[in-house]
Amino acid sequence: MRLNNRIAYAFLAPYLLIFATFWLWPIISSFLISFQNTRVNPWRFAPSMNWGRLVGDPAFYNALYNTLIILVIQVPVMIALATVMAVFLNSPLLKARPLYRFAFFAPVVVGEVAYAAVFRLMFSADFGIINKIIGTVGLSPVSWFDNGTAAMALVIMAVTWRWAGYNAIIILAGLQSIPGDVYEAATLDRVGKVQQFFHITLPLLKPIILFCIVLSVIGTMQLFAEPFLITNRGGPGGATETLGLLLYRQGFTSLNFGYASAIAYTIAALAVAISLLNLFFGREAK
């Protein structure tokens, strides 16, 4: 490596310029805005206004509760499913592997709006294909958009469909980096396949799975498009309103930038805190 400040920074300059303008300054600015009253012109310094409101706002607690429910149910289910997909896709016994890979990986490239539209139509209460199929086995139709619990389940299913394959790709890459002779030795010692999975595969995959969990936590904390488009702006009656959606409504519907910035910082702080907690416990359990 060569010591050269001038040339190094010449190469870095355009990138750092974008970073300073569109990330560094906004991060600082967001913090400052959260301490201002943005409902008057010009904005005034009012340190406790937004943060004070946040602490007592039932809409905030509702969004926080919904977000955490999604986090606690969706992330473990999805990661478990992704691990199963990856392990099965990695099996030498599998035929027609490209077909299965396509089925699980294809949702990764599908945009939020396109898949939200399909899910909305498929789960429509009166003429959605899901309720029609449920009807053929004699069950009564579910009002996916009018029942809070069903709406929440729908958001969780949609996000899981969209992201399980993404995580399976990452976990599969981790599986393929485990040397085969580990398993050969275990097989010679007459260790069963299931036991091999729990005692060899899972421990070796742990760092990768933790990485997937951290990515999913960050994604879930700012979940926006699914409750916005599929369950119609967090409906019914706020039952699927997430922190990401609350941020959007406060910032861009009510144009209350100060309060929205306080929410934004809360989202970031929670994402970082939960990620660190995961990493901490992940290491501990080793």
Partner: protein
């Protein structure tokens, strides 16, 4: 011997019996997207279960085009994704090159910043970014607003840096002895060697731009300057709207990417795993 091969056969059967229903469930929404896009609204809302495509795709597309100028939106999306991908690959390879190949003051700070922002949610910068671009720069509903702010991309820099640092330094030292300038070494020796990495990165960046929803929704909400996902999103939830049309739009957004995905799966996958497996 016979019992062993039979248990192997049983295991193989069990594996497929478990995986096939899951694969069908996973393909179902994509298949239905395609089926719906070929059905009339009357057919979509009939009480029958229809699982095979019909013939109304063109009619649906014309309905969509009547609801919103989708062709214009597609043109904007494609143009933005192409320009964004080119600019972003340029910026991230230059930055990756600097971090891989030079020692300089503040190097560890720059690396720490890039790693730090990977885990930072976009939510934390979206409000001030919007205020700055829309209110201070007065750039709402412009091409620049769609392309420039998302250019900051930490994963791309790390991806390119890894590619450059794996190249043998003799390659570049030989050129330096000859008196070749640094930017020429980068442009004519390093970049051509990094082509596979740049290809993978381009695919990921193009996809990110093509599917980007929140930022374009906020900054370019004027009809005529909307991207295709934003234009389609405005129709979801309207009462008097052609659902067959929306599905035709969804197919137009998805099919080209899916088609590319089938042929370039390897690049997609190496782009996705770049951040995870070191």
């Amino acid at each position: 011997m016979i019992s062993k091969s039979r248990s192997l056969l049983m295991r193989r059967l069990a594996l497929h019996a478990a995986l096939t229903p899951l694969a069908i469930i996973w393909l179902f929404p994509l298949w239905m997207m395609f089926v719906f896009s070929t059905m009339s609204d009357y057919g979509i809302f009939s009480p029958d279960i229809v699982l095979v495509p019909s013939t109304k795709f063109i009619e649906n597309f014309l309905n969509l085009q009547a609801d919103t100028d989708f062709l214009r939106a597609m043109f904007i999306s494609i143009t933005v994704a192409v320009i964004y991908t080119i600019l972003s690959v340029m910026l991230t390879s230059m930055a990756g090159w600097a971090l891989a190949r030079y020692r300089f003051a503040g190097r560890s700070v720059v690396i720490a910043i890039i790693l730090g922002t990977i885990t930072l949610p976009f939510a934390v910068v979206v409000i001030p970014q919007f205020i700055m671009v829309a209110r201070e720069f007065k750039l709402a509903n412009t091409w620049v607003a769609l392309i420039v702010p998302p250019l900051f991309n930490s994963l791309g820099v790390l991806f390119m840096r890894q590619a450059f640092s794996m190249m043998p330094s003799e390659l570049f030292d030989a050129a330096r002895v000859e008196g070749v300038k640094e930017w020429r070494i980068f442009l004519h020796i390093a970049l051509p060697l990094a082509r596979p990495t740049m290809a993978a990165l381009s695919i990921i960046l193009f996809l990110a731009s093509w599917n980007n929803y929140l930022w374009p929704l906020l900054i370019n909400s004027k009809p005529g300057m909307m991207t295709a996902p934003v234009a389609l999103g405005t129709l979801i939830g309207l009462t008097k709207v052609s659902w067959g049309g929306i599905m035709a739009g969804a197919v137009l957004l998805t099919a080209p990417i899916l088609f590319v995905f089938i042929f370039l799966q390897r690049h997609f996958i190496s782009g996705i795993t770049a951040g995870a497996v070191k």
